[in-house]
Amino acid sequence: MKRALFLLAFAAFLVTSGAVDAASGLSIALVPDKSNPTAPEMGNWLKFNSIIKNTGDTPLAGLVVWISLVQVDSGHEQPVDLEDWSAHKALVIPNLNPGQAIGADWAMRLIQAGDYRVVLSATERHAATLYVSPFADFHVRRKPTVESGRILPVAVGMPLLLAGFAAWRMRRGR
């Protein structure tokens, strides 16, 4: 009996929370831009389009929307510091009236290879919960940044070239 009462009370709490969310609701849509490369590699830029819409019936004030990036490669799961990936990390919307929607684009430069998911989160001044967008997943192909095929000829060739030139000068100087 006690267990049933507890479950009932918990269900009532959930329903009440949902009602509060519905009253001050926010929907965040997040999709990759159509111009994004189909198989992006390190160094490419990706853009994500978002639409932040007040689906509730009360205005939202002091809304902050920010982007997060998580690496999800097996064994390398970790949040990624966006400092080097993106200069546009957050958006502040002073006021968003019911039914009003704002679009925002989020560009990021792909720094490291791997599998990633990007997500937008938002909160407002009086919100009790966090609003989140759906995930947008992408894979970054590795691009060799130090190519042995290019370094070897230079590393071997330059000293040999200069040594040969020096020897030639010495022979001519005699």
Binding site: V146, R150, I151, A155, M158, A163, A166, R169, M170
Partner: protein
């Protein structure tokens, strides 16, 4: 012919024209080769790691340029004295300032040669990363006044100490101190002393610029303060070198 150009041509000919003189350039290339080959072992670098590699190569080239400048500068005056050729040089109808500028012209040519030798290495390690063009440009723009400043400084010491060995020791010690940020990362320079040292040290200004431009992709406007530090170093060192040479009495 302009006496400055004449002296610069003669001096640079000794450094670059002879087979023996070219040995240092070959050695410089060998050092950069070893550094580059060490980097081959890790090809799975992120773009920023690659930028760090370019930064390391730039710092190494600058330090080698500084080394070249202090060796040539230390020998510029005291070497002439020890070889017995200083008095004949001073008796020629050439202004002391022209002699100093001629010797520094030779240093500029030697640094230019080192810079040219370094370019293929920068390309080899940095062309698939970011900001290679900036690396090439800023190495010349910031490296040149720094290196020539050390040349002037060593020349001034060479005059005042009158001995190649003493001038070399003093100028090498200064160079080592100035180049210490190559070994000490930014986190080790966050103390008050470290920040003051960074603010006035031209070598720090150059390295911080390389880091700012190549790793962080920051614009030229943010580098103006650091450029001022490096140019001020060149001006003060040039004044020291020239004033020291002009103080010599026959």
């Amino acid at each position: 012919m302009n006496p400055i150009l004449l002296i610069a041509r003669k001096e640079s000919g000794e450094v670059l024209g002879s087979g023996r003189g070219l040995g240092w350039l070959t050695l410089l290339a060998a050092v950069l080769s070893v550094l580059s080959l060490l980097l081959v072992s890790d090809t799975e670098l992120s773009l920023l790691d690659n930028a760090q590699v370019v930064y390391i190569v730039m710092g190494t080239i600058t330090a080698l340029g500084g080394l070249l400048a202090v060796v040539l500068g230390s020998d510029a005056w005291a070497g002439e004295r020890e070889r017995g050729s200083l008095i004949p040089l001073l008796l020629t109808p050439v202004e002391i300032t022209d002699i100093v500028l001629g010797k520094m012209g030779a240093q500029g040519i030697a640094w230019g040669s080192a810079y040219l030798v370094a370019l293929p290495y920068l390309w080899a390690v940095g062309s698939s990363g970011q900001n290679l063009a900036q690396a090439v440009l800023y190495l010349g723009l910031f490296g040149t006044p720094l290196v020539l400043g050390f040349g002037f400084y060593a020349l001034g010491l060479s005059v005042r100490l009158g001995s190649v060995r003493a001038a070399l020791l003093a100028s090498l010690t200064t160079l080592l101190l100035a180049a210490s940020p190559l070994l000490l990362g930014p986190s080790l320079r966050q103390s008050a002393v470290g920040k003051i040292f960074d603010a006035v040290n031209p070598f720090s200004a150059v390295l911080n610029t390389f880091d700012s431009v190549v790793v962080d992709s920051q614009p030229f406007t943010l580098q103006l303060g650091r450029l001022a530090v490096v140019v001020a170093w060149l001006v003060v060192a040039a004044w020291f070198g020239r004033a020291s040479a002009r103080s010599v009495k026959l």
